[in-house]
Amino acid sequence: MAIRIALLLSFLATALLAHHSFGAEYDATKPVTITGVITKIDWTNPHSYFFLDVKDDKGKVANWKLEGYPPSVLSRTGWKKDVTMKVGDTVTVFGWHARDGSNWAHSREVTFANGKKLFFGPPAGTGDGGAQPAVEVSK
């Protein structure tokens, strides 16, 4: 009985929390392309992050947070920690804006100063259930 109650409580606690749904956190209809200078890189699980100082037309600088794959996936996708991208590097990032519209985005593709491109995260909509639910929907 005690086990069943514990399971139930923990299931309820799960209800509103998630991280794997990029499609929930980010708006696939709001692509962004930003260029800036790397200020910090976190190679962490379950997702990695890097931070970018981006200057607007008036010269005002804002720090953006970009989210992507975990370290093991990045390494299999061609990234080398502390080599491929370093603090101080200027990069251009293509991704999708977070649903709250703040300086936060999902990073799909990073273009380096030499023109080389690598994926830092999955395409828009990944993990949000796809184009069709797992069950048939009766109308």
């Binding site: 799960t14 998630a18 991280h19 977070a98 649903r99």
Partner: protein, 268 residues
């Protein structure tokens, strides 16, 4: 009938078909399943070769190629999962919430068969005559599968259940029971009860490919057994790495904040 897709490929060979002659064999004559494998793929070659272009989860090198579906997606063409009407509604709710209730979001184990079909992370099989070990990079979970053994009678409900195996000809048959009800089977919202019973069939049909046929039975939520066919492809040169999900899991907090701020997440 299940149809073809990039993520959960249907197979043309029957599950009981004997392995061909060029299948590596263990010292006891059984097909040797030992190796590092990638689920959800039909492509041969190294990880890099097989994931160039299309890629799995969008990791390919061709930015114009569409990504293969993630383990949250229902692959195109696959028939609907046979949920009872009330349970189908619950599955649909998760879909409409864009999977924000995904148990793996809190770094919980993916369960079976979701973790076997998953393509973004590799898995490793180590075979001995008496037991088979399956290791999964994603969530760093494992299964120790004794052969010709019975399930213990003191099971505590578990994310990965309890597995026992046996050889039926050249097919490894794994019987899994003892599940808790906190994992998804395959696709967003595909929940189950503690009565879940899974039968998996692993048939190495040639050097590069294992056919994976899995049947899920759960009289509390399904109307009939649900069978999926997928493949595991050999990835020589790939090694399993660490995945400590709890390290920096920021997204639950992000979601809470997005919902609090009234951001539109739901599909409806």
């Amino acid at each position: 009938m299940i149809s073809m897709s990039a993520s959960v490929p249907a197979q043309t060979k029957g599950p009981a078909k004997a392995a061909s002659k060029n299948v590596p064999r263990a010292s006891d004559g059984k097909p040797d399943l030992t190796g590092v494998w990638q689920g959800g793929s039909t492509r041969r070659g190294t990880w890099e070769e097989a994931n160039t272009g299309l890629g799995v989860g969008g990791t390919g090198t061709d930015p114009t190629a569409p990504a293969a579906p993630s383990s949250n997606d229902r692959p195109a063409g696959r028939e609907g999962a046979p949920y009872q009407p009330w349970a189908a509604q619950k599955v649909l709710e998760s879909y409409n919430k864009r999977a924000i209730d995904d148990p793996t979001s809190r770094c919980l184990p993916s369960g079976i068969p979701r973790i076997v079909i998953l393509g973004l992370f590799p898995q490793q099989i180590i075979q001995t005559p008496k037991q088979i070990v399956m290791l999964y990079e994603y969530m760093n979970v494992f299964r120790v599968i004794p052969l010709n053994a019975k399930h213990p009678d003191d099971l505590i409900p578990a994310y990965m259940g309890n597995s026992v195996g046996r050889w039926e000809g050249d097919t490894l048959v794994v019987d899994v029971t003892g599940f808790n009800d906190k994992t998804w089977l395959s696709g967003t919202g595909t929940f189950h009860s503690e009565e879940l019973h899974i039968t998996e069939r692993f048939t190495r049909v040639d050097k590069d490919q294992i056919n994976y046929d899995v049947t899920m039975e759960d009289p509390k939520v399904l109307t009939k057994p649900w069978t999926l066919h997928s493949t595991l492809m050999l990835r020589e040169g790939t090694r399993l790495q660490e995945y400590v999900c709890a390290e920096n899991n920021l997204d639950p907090g992000n979601f809470e904040q997005l919902l609090k701020d009234g951001a539109k997440i739901s599909r409806q």
